[in-house]
């Protein structure tokens, strides 16, 4: 019984480590904050789907690869300009769970209307 409990604990540790490893490519932590790097270019964001946890502070670190873009997520009440050649940080704490679309709100050309993405906030 005791061995079984240890085995379960080891499995949980392995799974958590694996998930953390998968997400490390674009998420890191600093003082308890999630930091998520987001690139913007005509006419897409990467990643275009961002998953957050309700109540957990997060910093979106934006980099534009070409020109001025914008980031607006009205459902969460956040927005930022994304000028080129610098990193722009947007810090916030998601206060509600749900799916919230975001879009570029700086007119950037022919595909501007399709430059969109989604933030998913889990409980």
């Amino acid at each position: 019984m005791k061995h079984a409990r240890y085995f379960s604990l080891i499995v949980v540790v392995i799974v958590v480590t694996f998930i953390a490893g998968l997400t490390w490519s674009y998420v890191s932590a600093s003082d308890g904050e999630q930091i998520i790097k987001v690139t913007a270019k005509k006419f897409e964001y990467s990643p275009k789907e961002i998953t957050l946890k309700k109540g957990v502070p997060v910093v979106l670190e934006f980099t534009s690869l070409d020109r001025m873009h914008g980031f607006s997520c009205p459902g969460l009440g956040i927005r930022s300009d994304i000028p080129p050649e610098k990193v722009t940080r947007l810090q916030f704490v998601p206060q509600k769970a749900g799916t919230f679309p975001f879009h570029c709100d700086v007119f950037c050309g022919t595909g501007h209307g399709g430059m969109t993405g989604t933030i998913i906030v889990t409980e």
Binding site: M68, D81, D105, V106, F107, C108, G113, G114
Partner: protein, 298 residues
């Protein structure tokens, strides 16, 4: 311009929204009135998006605006002026192509019988070059004009790609308004809505609330705008806002679809969702009777 009651009823029956409470007073309205108290008509055309191609959306992309021009020319009563509320051209990243499109749309519009034609840009015209090409073809992007006792104010909320009017233009607006009495008849033309219609689809003006704050002390303010390619009516306190249909690609109602992608062409109902608007400006009481007309007109 003389219009009898029968004409007015016909106008009201076309299917548009009519904000008229004084049918009984129409007979007197037709009589000659002193300057500043005359009723008059103007036509609003919007979002012609010249240069757009997409047969699934509009297989007559090269013909729709031309048909609308013919329809306006066929109106029984020619309007005092025609106002284009932006997005004359569809966006292109190529500066030369943008100018070609503006030249083409200018030539088509020159076929209007009415020569008093006013313009303003949409973000497709002006958002990539801060209206440089637009100014070459159509002139300044914000201005005022007076017509039969109405102060018309054209606001530019697109040349700044951040969907803003900007501090300088807001100061100019404030200075214009300070010259007017609080009961002045004011019509504002913009491309984007000044209020937050649906920010998720970029259907708003970032500093539109500041413009509305400046307009709010005035009793008779009406806003006509484009951008959303459909009829929409809204009020912010006493200020009425009326969006017009476009003449190229209909868009879904705010929030009614996952994305604001154009509505596909319906072969059973060609040009559905497109059209233009006739506005009758009445003096006493101050009213704007709107008639929504299809691309082919009456």
């Amino acid at each position: 311009m003389k219009i009898d009651r029968r004409d007015f009823l016909k106008l009201a029956g076309i299917g548009g929204v009519v904000f008229a409470s004084g049918l009984g007073g129409w007979g007197s309205a037709a009589r000659a009135k002193p300057p500043g108290e005359e009723d008059f008509f103007f036509v609003q055309l919007s979002d012609t998006h010249w240069g757009f191609t997409g047969p699934a959306i509009n297989p007559d992309a090269a013909g729709t605006l031309k048909k609308a021009v013919v329809a306006v020319n066929r109106l029984k009563h020619q309007p005092d002026f025609v106002m284009f509320t932006g997005d004359l051209t569809h966006v292109t990243d190529d500066d030369n192509e943008r100018r070609k499109r503006m030249a083409a749309v200018r030539d088509i519009i020159s076929e209007l019988k009415v020569k008093n034609v006013k313009f303003m840009p949409g973000e497709h015209d002006a958002g990539l070059d801060e209206a440089a090409a637009f100014k070459e073809f159509f002139g300044v992007t914000h201005y005022t004009f007076d017509h039969k006792g109405v102060k018309f104010i054209v606001l530019d909320n697109v040349s700044d790609p951040t969907s803003s009017i900007g501090a300088t233009q807001l100061e100019w607006l404030s200075a214009q308004l300070k010259q007017l009495p609080k009961d002045a008849r004011i019509v504002v033309f913009t491309h984007r809505p000044l209020f937050d219609l649906y920010p998720e689809w970029d259907w708003y003006t970032r500093d539109g609330a500041k413009a509305l704050e400046l307009l709010m002390p005035y009793q008779n303010v009406t806003v006509f705008y484009g951008h959303i390619h459909q009829e929409n009516h809204h009020t912010t306190k006493q200020i009425a806002h009326h969006a017009a249909k476009g003449l190229m690609l209909p868009l879904p109602a705010p929030g009614s679809a996952p994305k604001n992608a154009p509505i596909p062409w319906d072969p059973a109902a060609p040009y559905k969702g497109m059209g233009f608007r006739e506005v009758e400006a009445k003096v006493k009481p101050v009213q704007y009777a709107l008639t929504e007309l299809p691309v082919m007109g009456e």
